[in-house]
């Protein structure tokens, strides 16, 4: 028999605290579609995606209804296009992107990721063509997401790729100037990219993965915030050790939901269950914000001194609770701080509490990185590449994932507003130090060698 408290607290999390499953992402291996003939390749891709994912949305909705937990996004992640599309030119790979987009629309998923290249140690022909294709591919499709891994702890930082990505981001923004550079919101540059991220824009299906796999991304910043608020209200003298314990318990509950839903979706589709990504992913809604948690923890705003320590506490407690709840944890697994996607964080940036430099510091103790940050449109490709290089260094040296998703908003300057719409939200453009200048360091190129901590064998 269930207790009244168990039922009421669960209902409360759903009704008032924005608890949901943020995404169920179906990974689909496309290597068996490979062909030297572009038409044949795109036909096979379309067939495999629509065959495998045809029931995904319907099954997610049915199971969400069964448990009373909405599955907010249904997504697809495919094998890295740069690998199976290696024989093709950039313009041909744009056609592959359009095929992915059409298949995504046909099966009614929100996003499809995997327009991806892995170039941390060197750039092959297919990688070069894919990166060249990214601006047009993202500008001319709606749901395709792209990621490029330019660094890893094992390989170091590929500075040639870093500079190319600085240029690519500028070009992608330019092609979507009418929508404030929207293409850049679908493009992530990574260090140590995991092979099983269910969240966008970094989702792709790793080369070591099965033919099809279900990965789940849970959310729940609102649940964590409310739990902290309740605990402080009932005991104003509570210490941080107890608050960490409370976050751990809450993370456990949220993760269990993700695993329950993910396993049932996977079983219904006859597909292997992969991982739960234990992330606190906000949406641009009041009460569904990671930024608000900082205020519950007694900080004026995310960004003020103390924020990095608070985020470290939060991130670690989320992982500790989640790891106990599920044996299959993967993806990014940590707190997200995407500026435009979180009303509170966006407001902190607007008010000046949160700067690019403080965001970079925060990323050393959480997952993701410099995420969904709108910067002035005249920021130079050198400066964008240099910001990427800094962020990659944090990931490489600390053996963790970091990523950069910057949007240089065409024609707009610091203080202006950028609107991306939907889950991508809106943000005030924040200033960048030496924004429009050149950067000789970046242009030396080559490879920053792997750190000594890569020698683990």
């Amino acid at each position: 028999m269930l207790s009244e408290k168990e039922i009421i607290s669960t209902i409360e999390m759903l009704r008032n605290e924005h608890l949901d499953v943020r995404t169920v992402t179906l990974g689909i291996n496309l290597f068996d579609c490979v062909s030297h003939d572009l038409g044949l390749l795109t036909d096979k891709i379309h067939k495999k995606i629509t065959d495998t994912a045809g029931n995904l949305v319907q099954v997610c909705n049915r199971i969400g209804e069964k448990y009373g937990i909405p599955v907010v996004n249904k997504r697809i992640a495919v094998s890295p296009v740069a690998v199976f599309g290696a024989p093709f030119s950039a313009s041909q790979l744009v056609k592959v992107a359009k095929t992915l987009d059409n298949a995504a629309k046909e099966v009614e998923v929100d996003f499809i990721g995997g327009f991806t290249a892995l170039v941390e140690k060197g750039i092959a022909n297919g990688d070069r063509a894919l990166i060249e294709a990214i601006p047009e591919a993202l500008a001319e499709t709606e749901r395709v997401c792209s990621s490029v891994n330019v660094a890893s702890t094992r390989a170091g930082i590929n500075m040639d790729a870093v500079l190319i990505m600085g240029k690519t981001i500028k070009k992608a923004a330019g092609l979507t100037s009418a929508t404030d550079g929207l293409a850049c919101a679908k493009l992530c540059v990574f260090a140590n990219i995991p092979e099983d991220i269910p969240f966008m824009a970094g989702a792709y299906l790793g080369i070591g993965e099965a033919d099809a796999v279900i990965n789940v991304g849970v959310s729940g910043p609102g649940v964590v915030k409310k739990a902290i608020d309740r605990a402080i209200a009932s005991d104003p003298d509570i210490d941080l050790g107890h608050i960490a314990e409370l976050i751990k318990h809450t993370s456990y509950k949220v993760t269990r939901i993700g695993e329950l839903i993910g396993r049932e979706v996977a079983a219904s589709l006859g597909i292997r269950f992969g991982v739960v990504d234990l992330s606190l992913a906000p949406t641009p809604n009041v009460g569904d914000s990671v930024g608000e948690i900082f205020q519950s923890l007694g900080l004026l705003s995310i960004g003020v001194p103390g924020s990095t320590a608070a985020l470290a506490l939060l991130n670690n407690a989320v992982k500790a609770g989640g790891a106990f709840a599920s044996s299959h944890v993967g993806g990014l697994s940590g707190a997200f701080i995407p500026v435009s996607e979180d009303l509170n964080i966006s407001e902190s940036a607007r008010a000046g509490y949160l700067t690019l430099e403080k965001l970079e510091a925060l990323t050393s103790v959480c997952s993701v990185g410099l995420d969904m940050i709108a910067i002035p449109g005249d920021t130079s490709e050198d400066t964008i590449a240099a910001i990427i290089a800094d962020e990659m260094a944090i990931g490489v040296i600390n053996k963790k994932t970091t990523a950069v998703r910057l949007i240089p908003v065409p024609g707009k300057k610091a203080g202006d507003n950028a609107h991306f719409g939907g889950l991508l939200g809106q943000a005030t453009i924040i200033p960048v130090n030496n924004g429009s200048g050149s950067n000789r360091f970046i242009r030396f190129g080559g490879l920053i060698p792997a750190p000594i901590q890569s020698l683990t064998n």
Binding site: E4, I7, T10, I11, E65, Y67
Partner: protein
């Protein structure tokens, strides 16, 4: 040996279960199940017990009533019928239906009418109506078994329609969600 269901009802106070079970012990009865609950200030207990064949149900009831009279308890004894097959005759899945909303007459009748129409069995029900604005003060929690061959979409839509007519928020969720979240 005979077997009976004994129900005991009366104002709650310490010692009711001790008194009932001591009488049953003296009569050489063997208790198989007990369930008790308290609603506001009223005690209600159900006992399933086997007892020697030379005692009739009426005698058992009379003896309990007499010996419990100082506690002002009502006793009823009913012979236990042979266990029937599962009343629904089909495999069921456990769900929890929760409603939250202001008190008015007919809420339980309204919801259970829909549930019964679909052959759904209520296995546990808790309803609290204290008035006021606190959602947990006006709540009904039905644990139910829904036969797998039930048209769940129809059941859900009829329950939602009925709840909306009565000004209630309703949730219909598989029991596993509560188990997953709350139990290790």
């Amino acid at each position: 040996m005979n077997k009976a269901v004994i129900s005991v009802l009366g104002q709650d106070r310490p010692g009711i279960i001790a008194a009932v079970t001591s009488i049953l012990f003296k009569l050489d009865c063997n208790i198989e199940n007990i369930n008790q609950t308290i609603l506001q200030s009223e005690f209600s207990g159900i006992f399933i017990a086997s007892f020697p064949s030379d005692i009739s149900n009426d005698e058992l009831c009379a003896r309990l009533s007499k010996d419990l009279s100082h506690l002002k308890l009502h006793v009823h004894v009913k012979p236990l019928e042979h266990e029937e097959k599962d009343h629904s005759g089909s495999i069921c899945e456990p769900f929890v239906i929760t409603t939250i909303g202001p008190d008015r007459k007919g809420l339980v009748a309204g919801i259970t009418a829909v549930i019964a129409k679909h052959g759904v069995n209520v296995t546990n029900l808790k309803a609290v109506f204290k008035g006021g604005d606190n959602p947990s003060d006006n709540i009904m929690i039905y644990e139910v078994d829904i036969p797998c061959d039930t048209d769940q979409n129809l059941l859900r839509s009829e329950l939602r329609k009925k709840a909306s007519e009565m000004g209630l928020d309703i949730s219909i969720q598989h029991r596993n969600i509560f188990m997953s979240i709350n139990r290790i």
